[in-house]
Every structure is written in structure tokens, then in C-alpha cells.
């Protein structure tokens, strides 16, 4: 894992060091949120002295002290369960679950309580908790470190689920998530942590529940989120050579979903490809396809195409190049859509 850059105390401008990385933008968002609101506390496994295994919490314990940023025991159910209690007291916990595959021990607390306490208490309790989870593959890791669990959370009423694909969105969405009175599962595309963008932080605010058109096009809409947005953009670029004009929409908020932007794009182009790393069956792409079918049926020239991971457990690292959807696969799907 690459060397971290200390960012918690300096304003970041995108020009100084060739841009801001996604991990640095998250770090800055945490620092700014902690500076702005002393109720914000950050904890999880190895987030203190180490600064997190991806260094997203680098420097926070040092700057804000152990009361505000600290290491927890190795217990995910404990992390989320105590975050619920802290939020009931009045704090705004931002907790880290170290990897996607290690978010499952906390599932009971997330589904049974975090998602439901507002409803169960008839609105008398709110739980402004953010759960940060590095997710997705592509970093050559061992099993359980590369999963895409987004639908488990998106399917759970009461949770908001967002996933940024750029450093400026990472900053803005994390600030919005921390400010949100509802619990937010914040999925960080770990293979994009080190990708840089020329941006000055703080980046402009982004509301939860809004998608972004990353590239405009006339012939096909590609819907992607998190780690697959750059894949979709690469495919769109290659498609130019085939004479196809591809629009790329970064869904970025999985719950709530910005159906309006998605349907409007589908109506404009008449062809839609959805991309996700997760397996196909009952994946988030199926929801996107249904939304497009409901909202743009009369405008469609072709059935919605899905580009997904295979319906296997995430494979060993040496197989992941064959497993992960790449630009070629997206291009194949665009070609199928164009052939109608």
C-alpha cells in the first residue's frame, strides 16, 4: 500500500502535488467535519496511530486527540453497536469497518437497529452515524478484501448508501453524509484511493440523492458507480472510435436514487448499459434496469444491458483481471445495444 500523505492540517489545492487523491480528500473531509462539529467522533480498527490501513484517518488522532479519534477493539458488531449508543447520546460517530468482507459481523446491528431505530421510535431517535467501508476489488488482495456488498445495504430501508468515484465527490459526499441526520453507509472504492484529481478542497457541496452526468453523449447511456465510473469513461472514450457518442452517469447515491437524472438520460439516448463489480443476480444494476424500464420504456431502442462481475465468490487475486468488468466488456455491451 502506497505511502500516505499527511493532509489533515493543510488546505489542499489540487495543483501543488499533481492533484488530490481520493483518500486525501476523505481525510480532509473528516478533519474539516471534526473541526466544524465537536460531536463528530471517528473510530474503528487501526484508525488511530496507524491512521487506518488506507491512511484515510491519518493524523486525526494526533490533531483532535484520543477522545475524538481512537482505535477500537477488533469487533465490528461492537463498533456499530456502540456507534448507535453514542448517537443516541448525541454524538455523530463516523466509524470505519476495515474491509467490505469484514462488515458482515456488524450486519445485525446495522439492519436490526441502525436502519430501524428512527422508525421504531416513531421519529424520536435519530442516528446520525456514518459507516465507512472500503469496498470492491482490483488491489490484488486475499479473499474477503474485495467484495461489493452495496445491495445488502441499499436493500435495507432506513439506510442511505453513497459511493463516490472522484476526490471532489469523496469530499463533498462524506461531508454531506456526516451532516445527514440518517445513518449513511459510505462505500469507498478502494482501488481508486490513490487516483488524483486537480481540485481545490473544500469542493462544492453535493446533496445525497443526486446522480452526476460525467460525460454527455447521444447514443448510449452508461450507468456506473464507485470503482466502475472510470471504467465506463474509458469505454466511452474508446466508443468514439466506433462512432458512438456515449453518456456516462455516475449514480453515486444508491439510496436514495436519483431516478430523474437516470430516466432523463435514458430517454435522451434510448440505450442503456449498467455496470457493477458485484455479481449479476439481484445486483444493483437490476434495480437501475428496472428504473429505466419503468421510466423510459417508450424511448428505449434496446433492452438494458448489464455488465457485472461473475456470479461466483470473488476469485483469488490472480483471477481478478478476468473477473472485473473492464472497458472492453462495457464496449461489448454498448455494441450489443447499438446493434438493435
Amino acid at each position: 500500500m502506497s505511502a500516505p500523505v499527511r493532509l489533515a492540517e493543510s488546505p489542499s489545492t489540487g495543483t501543488a502535488r499533481g492533484g488530490v487523491s481520493l483518500a486525501e480528500a476523505l481525510n480532509r473531509a473528516l478533519a474539516d467535519a471534526m473541526a466544524a462539529d465537536e460531536r463528530v467522533v471517528v473510530y474503528g480498527e487501526d484508525v488511530g496511530k496507524l491512521g487506518g490501513v488506507f491512511r484515510v484517518t491519518d493524523g486525526l488522532a494526533e490533531r483532535f486527540g484520543e477522545q475524538r479519534c481512537f482505535d477500537s477493539p477488533l469487533a465490528e458488531s461492537g463498533i456499530v453497536g456502540t456507534a448507535i449508543g453514542m448517537a443516541m447520546f448525541g454524538l455523530r460517530p463516523v466509524v470505519e469497518l476495515q474491509f467490505d468482507g469484514f462488515s458482515y459481523p456488524a450486519f445485525n446491528q446495522v439492519v436490526s437497529h441502525l436502519a430501524k431505530l428512527r422508525y421504531r421510535s416513531q421519529g424520536r431517535l435519530d442516528l446520525p452515524v456514518v459507516i465507512r467501508i472500503p469496498y470492491g476489488g482490483g488491489i490484488g488482495s486475499v479473499e474477503h478484501h474485495s467484495e461489493s456488498p452495496e445491495v445488502y445495504y441499499a436493500h435495507t430501508a432506513g439506510l442511505k448508501v453513497v459511493t463516490p468515484s472522484t476526490p471532489s465527490d469523496a469530499y463533498a459526499l462524506l461531508r454531506a453524509a456526516i451532516d445527514c441526520p440518517d445513518p449513511v453507509v459510505f462505500l469507498e472504492p478502494k482501488r481508486r484511493y490513490w487516483e488524483r484529481e486537480d481540485v481545490t478542497l473544500p469542493s462544492p457541496a453535493v446533496a445525497l440523492g443526486s446522480a452526476a452526468v460525467r460525460r454527455e453523449g447521444r447514443d448510449v447511456t452508461v450507468l456506473a458507480y464507485g470503482p466502475t465510473v472510470p471504467v465506463a469513461l474509458a469505454a466511452a472514450e474508446e466508443a468514439v472510435g466506433e462512432g458512438w457518442s456515449v453518456e456516462v452517469v455516475d449514480v453515486r447515491s444508491l439510496s436514495p436514487l436519483d431516478e430523474e437524472t437516470i430516466v432523463a438520460s435514458a430517454r435522451r439516448t434510448g440505450r442503456v448499459v449498467v455496470v457493477q463489480e458485484a455479481p449479476r443476480l439481484a445486483g444493483y444494476g437490476a434495480e437501475l434496469a428496472a428504473v429505466v424500464g419503468e421510466g423510459a420504456f417508450g424511448w428505449l431502442e434496446a433492452p438494458v444491458q448489464r455488465v457485472t462481475g461473475f456470479d461466483t465468490p470473488y476469485p483469488p487475486a490472480r483471477f481478478e483481471g478476468w473477473y472485473l468488468p473492464d472497458a472492453d466488456r462495457v464496449l461489448d455491451a454498448i455494441a450489443v445495444a447499438m446493434a438493435y
Binding site: 500500500m1 480498527e45 487501526d46 488511530g48 496511530k49 496507524l50 491512521g51 490501513v53 482505535d71 477493539p73 477488533l74 469487533a75 465490528e76 458488531s77 461492537g78 468482507g101 469484514f102 458482515y104 459481523p105 490484488g140 488482495s141 486475499v142 479473499e143 474477503h144 478484501h145 449479476r280 443476480l281 461473475f310 456470479d311 461466483t312 465468490p313 476469485p315 483469488p316 487475486a317 490472480r318 483471477f319 478476468w322 473477473y323 472492453d328 466488456r329
Partner: protein
């Protein structure tokens, strides 16, 4: 660090076995302890030392192979050889063990080919060995989960009148997980023939034991669950062997589970991807080097007249040869068949998987020149 001493002292009061049991002082001097009997004489104990020499050599090779890109990442057992060799050699052939990602030396000691043992880290398979042939569960990465499997396995053995016992490896950090507590409780309730071997190596990635547990004496957990527990010197292979051997005998005779806390130290980074300079002083390693498990055993065996320069040289040469074989096997490995990624998802492939397999086969055929 004063904090640690105070906590240790406080915790001592609740510890069933007062002290850290040792049979072999760091100086290599053999001790007796009525609480821990070792049936091995020096001649028979030599194989423990040999397995540690081979294990350490392969472990070093694995670290080097990671730097060369042959492995993706590796979690070293360095410094913990006594914890991984002693318990494994205490097992009967029929017993099963339930290791974590840390236990490569234990897996190799059980007789698994290092190439197969390292497939997880090479990224060529999630588990490279045959669990039934080796009688080893696939190494578990989600922390503490394997402890429950070991207990269930042991419960099944007991229920069917089998004399097979289960050995679960856990780290100190793992004792914080709910699964670890549930495993201890199930084992206590059902008196499962299961041995919990906790390697307290002081660290869970960057988190030291004194931030992990309110009572840093992990053996104290035994009392809470009605499980006999002992705390041993994890760098003393006679102690790790003898404690496990006795616990397995108890398990087999219907005496139920045992919790063994072996106090040791993680001498390397958490994994090759970790940078321990961010959270610990390298100087602490010096004190632990004085407690090296291999050095003390070598001294003991030399003093007992079991080991001489010639035997040391021949065991070292054999260890080097095994490391060289591992290196060659990885460097000469045949390319992987991409379509294997669809194998074994279910007992038979589903139509969806068949379609996806055909899709990948088609993509691959189009990629050929």
C-alpha cells in the same frame, strides 16, 4: 508501558494459573513445572526444533517471494514458530486444526506442501491444500470465525463417539470478536473436545494488547466460560507442545475444552503490506530476540548432547533445499486457466454460470492473436 505492568498485575488476581508456565528458560535451561508435564526427552524433542528451523526458513522465503511478486502479500510467523510447531506436533493424525492466515508454519508443519500452503497468498487459490487429506480447515481470514467451526467439529465428534479432537488457532485481537466469545461459551456448555490456542503476540495490526482487552491476561477468559485455562511461554516449544498435548488428552477423555494463552511476540510487520514503524519502536524487538524460540531450543539440545554442528548443518541444508524448491515451484508454475474461476461455486454449475463461463471463453478466444 507502566500501564501494561499495572494492568498485568491487576489481571493476575483473576488468573487461574498464576503465572506464565515455562519448561525451557530463554537461556536454554530445562525446568520442571508440576502444572505442565512434558513427556519428551531431549532426543524426541529434537524434531520440534527441526520443524521450527524448517518453518522459519520457509517463512523467510515467503517474505522474500512477496518482495519478488511471486506472492501478493504474506503474514509472517516469525517469532511465533514455537506456537505453530508445538501444537501441531501434539496432534494425533486423526485430529483437525482450524488455522488463520497467520499459521503458514503450522500448516506446513502438519505436512502440507509449502506451495499449496501459500496458494492463498499467491492468489492462485483461496485454499491450495485438500482440507480432508491434511485435516486442516481452509485458513480463515475473517477474524475468529474458525473458532466456532472447531467447536462444532468437536461437538460432532463427541456426539458420534469419535475420539477426534479439534485445535483452533486464534490471535489476541481475535478474542475481541463476538465469535470468539460464542465459541468459548459453546465449548464450555457442550464440553466440546476442542483446544483453543491463542497466540498473544502483543499486536492486532497496530493495536497493542493493552488497548485490545480490559484484562490483558487472556487465559482469564477461561474461568468465565467454565473452561480450564493456562498461560504459557509461547516462545518455549516444549511448553506449547506439552500444554496442547495435555489439553488434547483431556478433550479425548471427555474432559472438555481447554484455553491456552501462549505469550509470544510478532517480530515482523502485520503483513508485508504493513508499516510497523508507524506504531511501534523497533527497539522492543531486541528484548524479544533474547527470547527467541529456536535459539533456546538449540542451546538445550546441544547441552543435552542431542545436537552438534553437523546435525545443525544438515537440518539447515534441508531447510534451504525446501525453500529453494518452493522458489522454483512458484517461479516455474504453469499459467492459470482463467475458466477455473467458475469451478465449484455449487455442486453443479447453474445456467447463469454456464453462460458467464462461455462469455469468458469467448472473450479469451477473441484475445488470441
Amino acid at each position: 508501558m507502566a500501564d501494561v505492568a499495572v494492568r498485568q498485575e491487576l489481571a493476575g488476581g483473576s488468573l487461574p494459573a498464576r503465572d506464565i508456565l515455562t519448561l525451557l528458560a530463554p537461556s536454554g535451561v530445562r525446568r520442571e513445572d508440576p502444572a505442565l508435564e512434558c513427556d519428551l526427552d531431549a532426543g524426541a524433542a529434537a524434531r520440534l526444533w527441526e520443524a521450527m528451523v524448517i518453518g522459519r526458513r520457509l517463512d523467510r522465503a515467503a517474505v522474500a517471494l512477496t518482495r519478488q511478486g511471486e506472492l501478493g502479500v504474506y503474514a509472517s510467523s516469525a517469532g511465533q514458530e514455537a506456537c505453530q510447531v508445538g501444537p501441531v506436533l501434539a496432534l494425533d493424525a486423526e485430529d483437525w486444526m482450524f488455522p488463520t492466515y497467520r499459521e503458514t508454519v503450522a500448516v506446513v508443519t502438519r505436512g502440507v506442501d509449502p506451495v499449496e500452503a501459500l496458494a492463498l497468498y499467491r492468489g492462485s487459490a483461496h485454499c491450495g491444500f485438500d482440507p480432508r487429506a491434511a485435516r486442516i480447515a481452509p485458513s480463515a481470514t475473517p477474524i475468529a470465525t474458525q473458532a466456532l467451526h472447531a467447536v462444532g467439529f468437536a461437538m460432532a465428534a463427541a456426539r458420534t463417539g469419535s475420539s477426534v479432537a479439534a485445535l483452533a488457532f486464534l490471535g489476541d485481537g481475535a478474542t475481541s470478536e463476538g465469535d470468539a466469545h460464542e465459541a468459548l461459551n459453546f465449548a464450555g456448555v457442550f464440553r466440546a473436545p476442542c483446544v483453543f490456542f491463542v497466540q498473544n503476540n502483543g499486536w492486532a495490526i497496530s493495536v497493542p494488547i493493552e488497548h485490545q482487552a480490559g484484562n490483558v491476561v487472556l487465559a482469564a477468559r477461561g474461568a468465565a466460560y467454565g473452561i480450564p485455562a493456562l498461560r504459557i511461554d509461547g516462545n518455549d516449544v516444549l511448553a506449547t507442545y506439552a500444554a496442547t498435548r495435555a489439553a488434547l488428552a483431556r478433550a479425548r477423555s471427555g474432559g472438555g475444552p481447554t484455553l491456552i494463552e501462549a505469550v509470544t511476540y510478532r517480530m515482523e510487520a502485520h503483513t508485508t503490506a504493513d508499516d510497523p514503524s508507524r506504531y511501534r519502536e523497533a527497539a522492543v524487538l531486541d528484548a524479544w530476540r533474547q527470547r527467541d524460540p529456536l535459539a533456546r531450543m538449540e542451546r538445550y539440545l546441544r547441552d543435552a548432547g542431542v545436537l552438534d554442528d553437523a546435525r545443525v548443518a544438515s537440518v539447515t541444508a534441508e531447510a534451504d533445499e525446501r525453500a529453494a524448491r518452493l522458489r522454483r515451484a512458484l517461479q516455474d508454475a504453469a499459467p492459470l486457466d482463467p475458466l477455473r474461476l467458475f469451478d465449484h461455486v455449487y455442486s453443479a454449475p447453474t445456467p447463469l454460470l454456464e453462460r458467464q463461463r462461455a462469455q469468458l471463453a469467448d472473450e479469451l478466444s477473441r484475445m488470441e492473436p
